[in-house]
């Protein structure tokens, strides 16, 4: 099974879908059984995904599967996992059972379709991270949109339709441009295979003209930057996050945003290194603006969930900053920060979900003094917030610190210290908005309506526990995580950081192919 492990991981949730749908025809079916099926499937998927961990460490792809898919156009079913995608896959499979447990009591209507969409989403997300064929990647990338669209549109909050459509159109526009880019690459290289294209570029057998690379970089970057989201393409995010059901927000923040930064790292930096260097100052500028802008907007949100959503803009800005620093610190930190953000922000959305379920409001002013009726909730919420703030020995610090160190030592831009100094203010702002929110939600005088709220139950604590433990472990022992991704990240970095002639194009025009036939 080990050589087909990735296929198994993608298919398992689909199998869960089949089982659920089949069960729905059973005469004695019970609605509450769907969540058990989904939970069992996703937990098993998570357990299987852990098998990947031992096999990955070097720069090459492991667990590769490479068979013919659509022979007529040379599209292949090519999967593989390396240090960059490994932890993202594990993060995905870990967050799924947690998301399902968080929906345990809050989702009452249309349970079958709800869990089916979640399972479909899982397949698509795993597929995105392990696809090594551009067409296959695009397929999964788009496939992840649809279930999320329905999750927001059906089970979301008051403005769910608006949010769902905004989310869909925003991201679909981006990915259509990427499709154009993929097709263009196909015409140049005659294949959709990522590894083959990369090999052709590295061996300098087929090279892109600067002009072609410019447009291809833009097409891919546009799709991914919307997904990240990078300022100023972020406005779908607060609406989608806020209106989505808790599980949707967790997955959205935890995994879907990472598809953007993953794409930037894998495809933009990997395939278009020269343009990446040229665009670095723009990307870094936008990232730094995003860090500060997202934080300032988070600070003034009256709605807890919107606050956490805007904080994502700020945190994901750090990731982009790290990626485009082209240093080992920055890129490793960025990859680590993707995981951290998934864990911390995922947890924060769960906390917001818990109080929403109890009070059916997300307005900060409706809360206050929850520490008295809900001591467990308050303690753990403070803990998760501290992780988001980036307190040393919790996970967020390691990522942010490495990213800032990478930015400071970067030679991708001029005056990197100015960038670092500005980005570092993001850490101050994080303390401002999180602590201010905590003070208004958790501390202070208890509002009489909140005085009787029940504390977290065993299920809620249980589903948080893995994330809380991860926050501590990833903060104190980051090396097992960083060491596994080291070689793969270094391979990408080496490509980007190479001098202009060693990149994807050379000055020799006779060997340059143009996009236009």
């Amino acid at each position: 099974m080990r050589q087909h492990l990735l296929t198994v991981l993608i298919l398992l949730p689909l199998l869960g879908v089949l089982v659920s749908v089949g069960y729905s025809f059973a005469p004695s079916r019970q609605d509450f059984h769907y969540k058990w099926i989904a939970l069992a499937v996703t937990t098993f998927t998570f357990a299987l995904s852990l098998l990947l961990v031992g096999g990955v460490g070097a720069a090459e792809f492991r667990f590769e599967e490479n068979v013919n898919w659509i022979g007529a156009i040379g599209a292949r079913y090519h999967l593989g996992v390396d240090g960059i995608s490994l932890w993202l896959v594990v993060l995905t499979t870990l967050l799924m059972p947690i998301a399902i447990l968080s929906s345990w009591t809050s989702i009452a209507k249309r349970q079958l379709s709800y869990y089916v969409f979640l399972l479909l989403l899982e397949s698509a997300m795993i597929g995105v991270f392990v696809s090594l064929d551009l067409l296959l990647f695009y397929l999964f990338f788009e496939a992840s949109l649809v279930p999320m669209f329905f999750l927001i549109g059906i089970w979301g909050g008051e403005r769910r339709i608006y949010a769902a459509i905004k989310f869909f159109i925003y991201t679909a526009v981006g990915s259509l441009l990427m499709l154009v880019g993929i097709i263009a690459l196909y015409f140049i290289y005659g294949t959709f295979d990522y590894a083959a294209i990369l090999a052709a570029m590295s061996a300098q057998t087929t090279l892109l003209s600067p002009n072609a690379e410019f447009w291809l970089f833009l097409a891919f970057a546009f799709a991914f930057c919307i997904k990240v989201p990078l300022f100023p393409l972020h406005t779908w995010l607060p609406d989608a996050h806020t209106e989505a059901p808790t599980a949707g927000s967790v997955i959205l923040a935890g995994v879907l945003l990472k598809m953007g930064t993953y794409g930037l790292l894998r495809f933009n930096l990997g395939l278009f290194p020269s343009m990446s260097r040229q665009f670095a100052w723009i990307m870094i500028t936008l990232a730094v603006i995003g860090i500060i802008y997202g934080a300032l907007l988070a600070m003034v949100q009256p709605d807890v969930k919107r606050l956490v959503a805007y904080s994502s803009v700020s945190h994901m800005g750090f990731v982009v900053l790290g990626l485009f620093s082209f240093t080992e610190f920055g890129m490793q930190g960025a990859l680590y920060q993707m995981l951290n953000h998934g864990v911390s922000t995922g947890a924060l959305f769960l906390f917001v979900g818990f109080i929403y379920e109890r009070r059916h409001t997300r307005l900060i002013t409706d809360f206050g003094g929850l520490a008295t009726p809900m001591p467990w909730f308050s303690t753990l919420f403070v803990f998760a917030s501290l992780s988001s703030i980036g307190l040393p020995f919790l996970n967020g610090f390691v990522g942010e610190f490495l990213i800032m160190l990478g930015a400071w030592t970067s030679n991708a831009i001029q005056h990197p210290w100015i960038v670092t100094m500005l980005a570092a203010t993001g850490v101050i702002w994080a303390a401002v908005y999180m602590l201010w929110m905590l003070q208004r939600v958790v501390f202070g005088k208890t509002n009489p309506t909140n005085a009787t709220l029940p504390d977290l139950n065993a299920r809620e604590i249980g589903l948080l526990l893995p994330l809380l433990i991860l926050m501590l472990v990833m903060g104190v022992f980051p090396r097992p995580f960083l060491d596994r991704s080291k070689a793969s990240v270094e391979a990408v970095r080496a490509r980007v950081a190479a001098p202009p002639t060693g990149g994807s194009f050379a000055g020799n025009s006779s060997r340059v192919l143009r996009v236009a036939p």
Binding site: F329, W417, V427
Partner: protein, 726 residues
């Protein structure tokens, strides 16, 4: 040498915190919780004393004790170990921190008696000890930063300990955020250290392949004394960035505003965190980095000026406060200013000396005030006290020694350390000061501060322990105009505190009396003995860097023009030979003992004594008669600094973020643009829809128009131009 006992110093309190948090929560037994908390700190204390003072201990040999636990972060060249080190500096610090910490833990068992969150309090307090000791014993910048932020977190948790009090929550948040502003500088300084030296370790550890960043700095040339060097990206930039961190943590201008508010926490917290230990972390860090500062005269000048300014500024505010803890808080800010003044003039040992004596007497004064507050049933307003010396004799007697110590009366601890700082300021060379006049000016500021200190402390003592017993006067509330909290005031008979509270008071009182003898300067010691020894100097001398003796400014001036803005390799810009860390301490010590200087130093000591006596005398004369004398409003309102910050920084940021960035830009501009894009598409579709009306005649008309247009085109351009025919 390696010694694994070292990690027990930090992990014992951590274990205490964990046990109390998880087990103590269930037990709800104050005796057991208190015992666990005190015992864990007690273990740290014993181990710290053992490791520091044993025959080849950290304070007695030149070798440091190491304990390498694990490599925390390793990416590329960057390496941060979780590794501890005890050298003479961190050993000295660890001794008084564990000891004073233990005393305050003991005191707190009595003070917090009956509190609902007893377990929580001690868990946090133990966690604080863990963080503080990590800060001290860390062998590299990043682990120090872990402790640095950790103490900030514990401070946050403990200031906000009374979770249902709004002002406590506000104060906690303010403390954390203000500290974060400082931490911004610390992190950036740390990165610049790494950027310049490739290491963040304080120590050379060949067996791990780690070089010392500090020694690398010691090998660099001295930065020129110019403002430009601030932005040159060399030692001066590092020093200033790190100093920003110290300004936040140690409550100096302009980031001092959190410390007075932090008094909203329980009094033992104020004593431990906001007086004796945490707030001196900034001083510790600067002394630890003395190798960097002695290469950055501009930074040292800034440190000295900020320190002196803070000292006198806070002292004036302290004159007019009515809350007993607020007086002590501003006094702490002021005393911290002295310590930075000492650092700024290169008197690093004197700074540490004052840290230690201050820890004794300020912890004593805070615990004393805690005992008073406890005895007065949580009354903190001195206007409602008075005459307490009859009711609380032990508290009174012990606070008396604290008062004399902070005022600078000879024999008591504060006299020696404060006098040392003033003397070192007076005799400071030109290295970090623009002209010789500056050393006299800074001395003068320090002396005035000493006078004010004696005055406000006398005021505090009189208002609390002497005079009429105002806590009996029911109508006192009406006399106190502008009182923020006119709570229904009931009369309680004040009472002396139990032994767990008085024993620490007595112990600290003894130390506040005799603690100064560890650092008697030569000039005074030689009056009584032939070979006087200043232990503190003797211990710390080998680990401190020294200001290079009198480099004339003109010689360094030529380097200025070559400096670029944040140029990456500033050390190459200065042609001056590298100054080594241990260069000639003996020479400088020899010089200090010239008869002329000894005469001057003795004279200045006499002046100090006179100033202290004058301060106490003036205070006594004024406040003995009129303890409730109305002080100037501007002082009572702390120069309105909080209000100014609120109006010029906090409010504008909030309003711009809410109205400008969010409502106008995010919702209005970005989303507005996208919506109009969507509307345009819809509108365009609506218009185009009319073309498909379903009428055959209109289709026919369109076809006709299209055909005519095509024919027209062909006719106009001709087939050749379009390339259809060859």
């Amino acid at each position: 040498m390696e010694n694994n006992l070292l990690s027990f110093i930090i992990f014992a309190p951590l274990a205490g915190a964990v046990i109390n948090w998880f087990v103590g929560r269930r037990l709800r037994n104050e005796k057991i919780i208190g015992f666990i908390a005190c015992a864990s700190v007690g273990i740290s204390t014993i181990i710290a004393f053992y490791l520091a003072l044993k025959s080849n201990g950290a304070l007695r040999s030149t070798e440091s004790i190491f304990d390498h636990l694990w490599t925390w972060i390793q990416v590329g060249r960057f390496r941060a170990d979780f590794a501890l080190a005890m050298d003479r500096l961190s050993g000295t610090y660890a001794l008084f921190v564990t000891f004073v910490g233990f005393m305050i833990h003991l005191f707190a068992v009595g003070y917090m008696h009956g509190d609902r969150g007893f377990y929580r309090f001690f868990a946090f307090l133990n966690l604080f000890m863990f963080a503080m000791l990590t800060l001290i014993l860390a062998d590299n910048f990043l682990l120090m930063f872990v402790g640095w932020e950790g103490v900030g977190l514990c401070s946050y948790l403990l200031i906000g300990y009374y979770t249902d009090r709004k002002e406590a929550g506000n104060a906690a948040k303010k403390a954390f955020i203000t500290n974060r502003v400082g931490d911004w500088g610390f992190v950036l300084g740390l990165m610049l250290v790494f950027y310049l030296t490739g290491s963040i370790s304080f120590f050379e550890k060949p067996e791990h392949g780690v070089i010392s960043a500090l020694q690398a700095f010691a090998g660099m040339g001295v930065d020129p004394f110019t403002w430009k060097s601030l932005f040159a990206g060399g030692a001066t930039s590092v020093a200033v960035l790190l100093f920003i961190g110290a300004v936040g943590k140690s409550a100096q201008i302009p980031l001092y505003v959190w410390l007075p508010d932090a008094m909203a926490g329980p009094t033992p917290v104020s004593a431990l965190i906001h007086a004796a230990t945490m707030v001196t972390a900034g001083v510790y860090m600067i002394v630890r980095c003395s190798a960097i500062y002695t290469h950055a005269p501009t930074a040292m000048f800034i440190v000295a000026v900020i320190g002196a300014a803070t000292a006198i500024f806070a002292a004036t505010i302290g004159l007019a406060q009515n809350d007993i803890k607020k007086v002590l808080a501003y006094s702490t800010v002021s005393q911290l200013g002295y310590m930075f003044l000492a650092c700024g003039v290169g008197a690093f040992a004197a700074a540490i000396f004052h840290v230690i004596t201050h820890a004794f007497f300020k912890a004593l004064l805070f615990l004393g005030s805690g005992s008073v507050i406890h005895g007065m049933h949580h009354e903190q307003d001195m206007r409602r006290m008075g005459g307490l010396r009859k009711y609380m004799p032990i508290t009174f007697a012990t606070m008396l020694t604290g008062w004399l110590a902070i005022s600078g009366i000879p024999i008591f601890a504060g006299f020696f350390s404060k006098d040392e700082i003033l003397w070192k300021t007076w005799s400071a060379g030109e290295f970090s000061l623009p002209s010789p006049l500056w050393s006299k000016a800074l001395w003068f500021v320090g002396a005035i501060t000493a006078l004010l200190t004696a005055v406000y402390m006398t005021r505090m003592m009189i208002m609390t322990f002497w005079g009429s017993e105002r806590f009996r006067e029911q109508d006192v509330d009406h006399q106190l105009e502008g009182d923020a909290a006119p709570a229904p005031h009931s009369v309680h008979e004040p009472h002396e505190s139990p032994w767990v509270m008085t024993v620490p008071l007595i112990a600290l009182a003894v130390l506040s009396t005799v603690g100064g003898f560890i650092g008697v300067p030569y000039a005074l010691g030689s009056l009584f003995s032939d070979h006087p020894v200043s232990y503190i100097d003797q211990v710390l001398e080998p680990v401190l860097s020294h200001v290079p003796a009198g480099v004339p400014h003109s010689e360094r001036a030529h380097a200025v023009d070559e400096m670029q803005w944040l140029s990456p390799k500033p050390q190459q810009l200065d042609g001056a030979p590298a100054v080594h860390a241990l260069e000639g301490p003996a020479a400088s010590a020899e010089r200090a003992h010239s008869p002329e200087e000894i005469r001057q130093e003795r004279f200045l000591a006499m002046v100090s004594v006179l100033i202290a006596a004058l301060g106490i005398g003036v205070g006594w004369l004024i406040f003995q008669k009129r303890p409730l004398l109305q002080m100037p409003r501007i002082l009572e309102n702390k120069y309105y600094v909080d209000e100014i910050y609120d109006a010029t920084i906090i409010k504008p940021i909030e309003v711009v973020s809410r109205e400008g960035l969010w409502k106008l830009f995010d919702v209005g501009v970005i989303d507005g643009f996208l919506h109009s894009l969507g509307d345009a598409v819809t509108e365009g579709g609506r218009m185009v829809r009319h073309l498909q009306g379903g009428f055959v005649r209109s289709y026919a008309a369109i076809i006709l128009i299209g055909a005519l247009a095509l024919i027209g085109l062909f006719a106009y351009f001709g087939a050749h131009t379009l390339g259809l025919a060859r």
